[in-house]
């Protein structure tokens, strides 16, 4: 005869597994009905078309820039060197990494004639977009950290100039949509700066940097609030103890308060940086071809929107997941050290 407690355990286990099954049922029903609907509208899934937008093998033709005659064709271990004796009397070498040769020694060539070709792997547009998203986010995060740290410290300072400047900055940024801020950075500040630069004959700043600036200032304001609450979460006694030993405000911040605050602010910072990566998708509207804009362009040429938008979402997921893993690792290391 089984004890009632083991019966209870058995029942709890059974109900647990039942809900696991429910979970998978819900997931598969969602995917299944999605697939069913696409069949209904005669959508053809062509996943095999997706990889070319990551990497593709391009044929590159080697052309001569001079007119003359082919003096020598030399096959080397890793390609071909073609020497052309130009009409001006110089000899010019063309080397490329393949054995494909389109002409013979002694042939006459004109400017722009194809000498041969080779194939090369190129980064596809999606991968370029992913790389740009990564780059933009990374730079914006770095600047955002410094801006946020500065503004956060200014926010709790007793100096009214620092404090009010910081409050103004934080409230302005947090009170308006990022999209509007991107427009302001690009169409207002960007126009002002670039027009002034043009007047002095200096080269223009590309849109990318205004995009980065908008993301960095946006993130900086949120980081400032995170830094502020992180510092304020450290017990007042820590400041009192360090100051009572004769440390200055700066020394006490640097040696005692910030090291403790940093461990606490890592999780909210991770959330903020994940938002930043996702928000960088808005930069497409000022002609920065980050991942979302790249996907949109590919969709219009490939006509495979379903696959590509899913891929796009998954790529963002990979980025944000990697970032949150990295920060978790950092947090663990800081706690252990």
């Amino acid at each position: 005869m089984e004890s009632t407690s083991s019966l209870l355990q058995k029942q709890q286990k059974r109900s647990y597994y039942m809900w696991v099954v429910v979970f998978f049922l819900v997931i598969f029903t969602c995917l299944g009905s999605l697939y069913y609907c696409t069949l209904k509208i005669d959508y053809t899934w062509r996943w095999y078309r997706v990889p070319q937008y990551f990497f593709f093998n391009e044929e590159i033709e080697v052309r001569t820039d001079v007119a003359g005659s082919v003096e020598a064709i030399e096959e080397t271990t890793d390609g071909t060197i073609i020497r052309i004796n130009s009409d001006d009397g110089d000899s010019v070498d063309y080397a490329y990494p393949s054995k494909d040769v389109r002409l013979y020694e002694g042939d006459t060539v004109f400017e722009g004639d194809v000498l041969g070709s080779y194939r090369e792997w190129r980064m596809g547009i999606l991968l370029q977009g992913l790389w740009l998203t990564l780059k933009v986010s990374f730079i914006a995060i770095i600047f955002g950290i410094f801006l946020g740290l500065g503004a956060g410290l200014a926010r709790i300072s007793s100096n009214p100039a620092f404090k009010w400047l910081s409050i103004t900055y934080i409230e302005l940024v947090r009170g308006s949509p990022l999209l509007v801020q991107i427009f302001i950075w690009y169409f207002v500040l960007g126009t002002l700066v670039n027009t002034m630069l043009a007047q002095y004959g200096v080269s223009q700043i590309p849109p990318l940097w205004f995009g980065v600036a908008s993301l960095a200032t946006f993130t900086g304001a949120y980081v400032a609030e995170i830094v502020r609450s992180g510092i304020q979460s450290i017990h007042k006694g820590q400041t009192e103890a360090s100051r009572s030993l004769g440390m200055t405000y700066t020394q006490s911040m640097y040696h005692v308060i910030l090291p403790q605050a940093f461990i606490r602010i890592i999780p909210p910072l991770a959330g903020q940086f994940i938002s930043l990566i996702k928000d960088s998708s808005l930069l497409g509207i000022i002609a920065i071809r980050e991942l979302t804009k790249a996907t949109r362009e590919v969709v219009t040429t490939s006509l495979q929107p379903f696959e590509l938008w899913f891929v796009c979402a998954i790529l963002y997921l990979v980025l944000t997941f990697a970032l949150s893993m990295l920060l978790q690792y950092l947090e663990k290391r800081m706690i252990h050290s």
């Binding site: 009192e240 103890a241 009572s244 030993l245 004769g246």
Partner: protein
Amino acid sequence: MINVKNISKTFMVPHRVDALVDVSENIARGEVVVVIGPSGSGKSTFLRCLNRLETADKGKILIDGVDILHPKTDINKVRAEVGMVFQSFNLFPHKTVKNNVNLAQNVVRKRSSKEAEEITMALLDKVGIADKKNVYPDQLSGGQQQRVAIARALAMNPKAMLFDEPTSALDPEMIGEVLEVMKTLAKEGMTMAVVTHEMGFAREVADRVIFMDAGKIVEEGTPEHFFTNPSHDRTKLFLKQIL
């Protein structure tokens, strides 16, 4: 050593409290003064005014001849000369015991790591906790933490020490070890101002006892005077309640 002349301190937030009202007091070099009084009577505020953790609104405070309320005074220099020990220890949780004691020696006293290390080890030895030098504060008992906090303050070679209820947060069995360290300090001639409810300590160690109530010093005198025939009714009432 410590000369306090007519200081007052009023807190406005969250509501008006006259924490200190026209308090004057002189503490001589090597003197041990114990401050007692009911909760909210201004004992902590008095102590914290002495190293300007609170700034007195009125009056004058001289520490070893330095007017600490003068705008030109470098308060950090004064604070390094006046050690403070808190009820809640306030050790730096992200640093080991050794580094808790080292830190201010490095950044305030600018001692070399080697010199600081030697001083630290001597002090940890003195407070009886040298074997825990590489441990983090959260692995120590309250009594051990408070002894480290005392060592940390002593590492600055202070001319005076302020203790704000150093044993109030401790389990009864740990109070003794902390008081023992304080007694040793007193014997060595340290100038000390101690807020405490440990009447045994007051009786045994204090040169003078001060009784505060409602922001004022109501009565002061030798321990014998206090514990045998206090003159004020409020003092009598207070002593009756706690003894």
